[in-house]
């Protein structure tokens, strides 16, 4: 045998090395390990239709990584039925867990196209496994908590940062976006006392001063009153011209906010008159700019509370995304964010209700007793607001007053609906409201609905009825609302038939199996190009938590709170619980970030994502999330069917 002197001419195989550096779990390994692997790799070609592993038969000699092409992975069960487990493309691996456990394959792997694979010899694979814990975990852990937290951080860091909301706002917003047009003017010979009274009456902090020929000559602020009058003991009957600042500094309404800020800082003043077409259109203050810019939830809560007309609340909605984005940047969990968003909408709801009720004469607010249902009740609002609510009122109203209540409620509810519609336009996704006569009525009517649902739980009715299983009354609700909630809970949870219907509904939609290139693979093998995170993930998680809680007498409403209660009662074990929580958290974050990005570019926020926009890590994690749903379906199937 000749000696091989050619080793000096060998080079690190670029093809394998560069490929490994692109995919998990290799890219997480040291470069030197990747180099070693690359040198030992062999390329195998499997024509379309080749069975690479046969379930329980093939001796696995190599760990496989798909370089090009695709495979399907399926499981043959005892009764010879086949179920698709995965479709894998470039970068997908197989054989790992079986090599580690030293077992025959537990699935069959077959090529769907002509496929080239990188083969890593068993001994080398096992050695690298033994030396790299993270590498082993990748193949063995059913649901990677490390992976999810990694995906969570990746999504957060890369995606939130790309949302430029705050910066854009400050540099693109104009003075005209912020000014208060309803400014007041006093004559320069008015007394300081009169001026103070006008400020108090209109709840304003400044007003303009005009001379005899109606020219604006100065501005008076609360600060002038405090520092020049009160603290110096000045006579209140002196003309306002003695304390006004003059002349009034102005800024064009088209100027940008930061220009206004610069001018104020330069002049050391806090008020500017905004000028358009040579006349003053309004006043802008440092406070206005601060509030406009503020991304703090507290300020936004206060602002909502301070509004004196429903119409003036409109501009506040636009701030919610900015506030939430800041919270997320500061590290708030996605589920906390949906809680905060819900609190905003609660406040808006309560405030609007109060303001509209105040407009209608003489009726008491408590009559409406709005009860939130569905997502709003679960405190899982996103940037696609939902104002689903119903109205329940007393059981025994007098004949004539029922009419009054009905008319009153109808007017109030439709005013509210119009208001929400005008605020959110097409983004609003409300389905249920008390403006619909079906969803408002006395307790006895509701009681009948419940009886109908429980006695004849057919699928379309179940879909409607399940909204009412998530209920929450707003602060200040009356006893009627509370008794309604109790009634509902008892009747539903004691109806075996209804619970079975709910379980069947939950099981009716199978989670997708996997991702394949730019598409998502359904359990039946079909491929879809868009994934609705709401209907395919968020709702099923909520459905599971609701179903199990009703069965076990848990009265929580929020999905995470329900899951935690179920774990406390040992209905689900802690491992599963942490998987579900992590999966739920991940999908919520994905929703929020995608919606933020849509808002950022002026598009309508939604729930549908395009798999092409996801990173490899996000795809893997979503796939794990589908896997968690499969487990939950198995639990429900076992307990209810």
């Amino acid at each position: 045998m000749m000696t091989d002197n050619s080793a000096g001419y060998a080079v690190t195989p670029k093809v394998a090395f560069q490929f490994l550096r692109r995919f998990s779990p290799f890219k997480e390994l040291d470069i030197s390990i990747n180099e070693e692997l690359a040198k030992e790799i062999e390329v195998e070609f499997y024509p379309k239709g080749t069975t690479i592993f046969r379930q329980e038969l093939t001796d696995i000699t190599h760990f496989h990584v798909i370089q090009k092409g695709s495979v399907q992975v399926y499981l043959r069960s005892e009764n010879d039925t086949y179920s698709l487990r995965n479709i894998g493309g470039e970068g997908e691996t197989f054989g790992g867990s079986c090599l580690i456990r030293n077992q025959k394959p537990d699935v069959t792997v077959e090529t769907l196209e002509d496929t080239f694979c990188f083969l890593i010899p068993r001994t080398l694979f096992l050695r690298i496994i033994s030396e790299n814990i993270s590498f082993e975990k990748f193949f063995l852990a059913e649901f990677q908590k490390d992976r999810i937290s990694e995906a969570y951080i990746e999504t957060r860091n890369e995606r939130i940062r790309s949302v430029g909301m705050k910066r854009l706002d400050y540099f693109t917003s104009r003075v005209s976006d912020v000014i208060r047009p309803n400014f007041q003017v006093v004559r320069s010979d008015s007394s300081i006392r009169e001026t103070g009274e006008i400020m108090a009456k209109f709840r304003i902090g400044s007003l303009l001063v005009k001379d005899g020929s109606s020219n604006i000559v100065g501005i008076v602020t609360k600060k002038d009153l405090r520092s020049k009058v009160v603290s110096c003991g000045m006579d209140y009957s002196l003309p306002v011209s003695t304390i006004m600042s003059s002349p009034v500094k102005t800024i064009p309404v088209q100027a940008r906010l930061f220009e206004a800020t610069l001018l104020m800082v330069k002049e050391q003043i806090s008020h500017l008159a905004a000028v358009g077409d040579s006349s003053i259109l309004g006043i802008i203050t440092t406070h206005d700019i601060m509030v406009h810019q503020a991304a703090s939830p507290i300020i936004l809560f206060r602002e909502i509370q301070a509004q004196e007309s429903p119409e003036s609340m409109n501009s506040l909605f636009k701030k919610i995304p900015m506030v939430i984005k800041n919270l997320m940047e500061e590290g708030a969990k996605a589920s906390h964010c949906t809680n905060v968003i819900t609190l905003f909408h609660d406040r808006i709801f309560i405030r609007a209700l109060k303001l509209f009720a105040a407009r209608s004469s003489g009726s008491s607010l408590s009559i409406l007793a709005p009860i939130l249902v569905g997502k709003a009740a679960r405190m899982e609002q996103t940037f696609v607001p939902v104002y689903d609510y119903i109205a329940v009122y007393g059981d025994e109203p007098k004949a004539d007053s029922t009419d009054t209540t009905e008319i009153y409620l109808e007017r109030l509810a439709s005013q509210l609906n119009d208001f929400f519609g005008s605020c959110f336009g097409e983004n609003l996704r409300s389905k249920i409201s008390a403006a619909n006569p079906r969803w408002r009525g006395p307790l006895e009517v509701w009681s009948k609905y419940i009886d109908d649902w429980t006695s004849n739980p057919i699928p379309p009715e179940i879909r409607i009825a399940k909204n009412f299983l998530d209920t929450r009354s707003l602060p200040g609700a009356n006893n009627i609302a509370r008794s309604f909630l109790n009634l509902f809970f008892e009747k539903i949870s004691s109806s075996v038939k209804f619970m079975k219907g709910l379980a069947e509904d939950f099981l009716s939609v199978k989670p997708p199996v996997s991702f394949f290139r730019e598409a998502i693979v359904e359990a039946d093998g079909t491929e879809i190009n868009k994934l609705d995170l709401e209907s395919r993930l968020a709702e099923p998680f909520a459905d599971f938590a609701r179903l199990m809680c009703f069965r076990h007498g848990i009265t929580e409403t929020n999905t995470l709170a329900r899951l935690k209660s179920l774990t406390r009662l040992k209905v689900i074990n802690e491992d599963l619980c942490s998987e579900v929580l992590a999966a739920h958290e991940f999908q919520t974050q994905l929703v929020l970030i995608n919606q933020l990005r849509a808002l950022d570019v002026g598009a309508a926020p939604g729930y549908v994502i395009d798999p092409a926009d996801l990173s490899e890590l996000e795809k893997r994690t979503l796939k794990d999330t589908f896997g968690v749903l499969v487990k939950l379906q198995a639990i429900v199937a076992e307990k209810f069917l």
Binding site: D4, Y9, A10, V11, V15, A16, V43, F45, K68, L119
Partner: protein, 246 residues
């Protein structure tokens, strides 16, 4: 012995390099009837200063071994070789090797024995391989006193055979013009693609094409080395050295 005399003796075959003697012995005894998986293949490609064997020279060799019908991507051979004459300008346009890259490279004479060792025991594979073989043999004849005896297979002819077969089978339009260039075939068959005109990358590309065709040939009843060479005479996509060098 002076250098001129040594060259003369070598070219007349009196001073055959030991590697070549070993090479001849190995292939003299070769069993042609084993399944294809049992043979080693070396897929190789050269970069040349031009296409005229009398005047032009090899400036780069890239090769990769195929064992068990799998590409052993770590078993590669790659080198630049310094030609005796300066690199013609127009050749740089094709293979992207610049005079700077080869100025410090060893002469082909120093490299050849190692490359012959690398080829040991393997059937040679190349795309339009006869050109590369003729350059290689011209070089070994002058530097090592003989030619290599490895049988060789041409992937271009394999592809022609495969396409002929497909046409017959699927009644595809025979008039349809097909390109049998390495790159066009690789695209047509959906192979992973490599950079063009680098000896090792081209060898790697050829190896993928070879692997693809070999697996497809299994369905056409080609299972031993003899099938590949003699069983498919009509195809004539391969040759052993004797028939070529005669």
């Amino acid at each position: 012995m002076n250098l001129g005399l040594k060259r003369l003796f070598k070219s007349l075959g009196f001073l055959k390099h030991p590697s070549l003697r070993e090479n001849k012995r190995f292939f003299y005894d070769l069993n042609w009837n084993k399944p294809l998986e049992d043979y080693d293949f070396v897929v190789f490609d050269t970069e040349l200063t031009g296409l005229e064997p009398r005047n032009d020279e090899i400036v780069s060799i890239g090769a990769v071994r195929v064992r068990n019908l799998r590409i052993a991507v770590g078993r590669t051979f790659f080198c630049y070789a310094r030609p005796n004459k300066p690199l013609p300008k127009d050749s740089t346009l094709i293979h992207r090797i610049t005079p700077d890259q080869i100025v410090g490279a060893p002469p082909l004479e120093d490299i050849l024995p190692d490359f012959v060792s690398f080829l040991h025991g393997a059937v040679i594979v190349g795309h339009f391989v006869s050109i590369d073989i003729s350059f290689l043999n011209r070089a070994t004849k002058s530097c090592m006193g003989g030619i290599i005896k490895n049988p060789f297979v041409d992937t271009m002819k394999m592809a022609q055979y495969y396409e002929d077969h497909r046409r017959r089978r699927y009644y595809e339009d025979a008039a349809q013009k097909l390109s049998f260039g390495l790159n066009d075939l690789s695209k047509k068959y959906g192979l992973p693609l490599f950079e063009k005109h680098d000896a090792l990358e081209d060898a790697m590309q050829t190896a993928y094409l070879f692997l693809f065709l070999m697996k497809k040939f299994k369905n056409l009843g080609i299972s031993t080395l003899r099938d590949l060479f003699t069983g498919q005479k009509k195809a004539a996509f391969s040759s052993d050295q004797d028939s070529y060098s005669a």
